[in-house]
Homo-oligomer: 160 residues x 2
């Protein structure tokens, strides 16, 4: 399939939420998202990377996701309750973020589109906080203050 | 947009790679993927969740991704070299994994498809190692031995 990069998009209506240090065992991700779905909260991207071990060799993980700004308060309350139940480390909400994405098709990561995107942001000194990829969209969460610079850099890199 | 779940897919040709404890500063993600793109390595999903702090309050992060099995050895060598250069903690390769995905459209996570997927896997006692979502695909990395059980559970949950 041909690699086509069609556009750059920005989303300023997301906040980043992480529940940190949850037990890495079956059923945890399910509990987190059932608690939100039940409350009609709009979750955009969900990202969970590989687990790690605590000093006592317990397997733990962090689950990060983004929700609409209007849902930040409610999400925080729900997750704080869950955090106590699961004995997780903490709940972090970061509001000053933006999601920038390259959209297109055939963008399997070996095509180099992802590394070009990361390099374009790096050259502007923009730190990448979260990454999520699919064939049609490669998204990076960055600080909100950098969004204009990021979109310009990406439009330039991909001739858009 | 209407939520449509069209199918369950499995990918047994992926291995999970993580470079753990890289400095969380601009340019690191770019370096990681430039080093792989340059070697023609086929990267499938890239996942990076939120950064954390070391005891000395240095910001670090882990970058996880999957590559084709045939590229595992080469990837390991490239990343080990990079790990030393970046003074990152470790490179972890896990081969006994499978990626299972729900594919469809309009699957923004608030639709509840993601939490139903996680719950279906949890009910079978299947641990979810990595999560990545998009409008058209929600993917979970699990242990390879669980793939048959996972696909059956998902097909049942979504009437496929
Ligand atoms: C951390 C969380 O994803 C857990 N591994 C689960 O399967 O639910
Ligand atoms: C960790 C890595 O993604 C880093 N934050 C970067 O921007 O490259």
């Amino acid at each position: 399939e041909e690699i086509v990069v069609r556009g750059v998009t920005e989303d300023l209506d997301q906040v980043k939420v992480s529940i940190v240090g949850v037990p890495d065992r079956p059923g945890i991700a399910a509990k987190v998202f059932e608690s939100l779905t039940g409350e009609d909260i709009c979750v955009d991207m969900i990202i969970q990377s590989s687990a790690r071990r605590t000093k006592k060799s317990r397997a733990i993980n962090d689950i990060s996701f983004t929700v609409k700004r209007q849902d930040a308060e409610k999400t925080k309350k729900i997750l704080e309750t869950l955090r106590r139940r699961l004995n997780a480390k903490e709940v972090i909400i970061k509001e000053n973020i933006a999601k920038v994405s390259i959209v297109g098709s055939g963008m399997r990561t070996h095509s180099g589109v992802a590394s070009r995107m990361f390099s374009a942001l790096a050259r502007k000194g923009i730190n990448i906080e979260m990454i999520s990829t699919s064939e049609i969209k490669i998204s990076c969460v960055i600080e909100k203050k950098n969004v204009k610079k990021a979109v310009e850099a990406l439009a330039k890199e991909f001739n858009l």
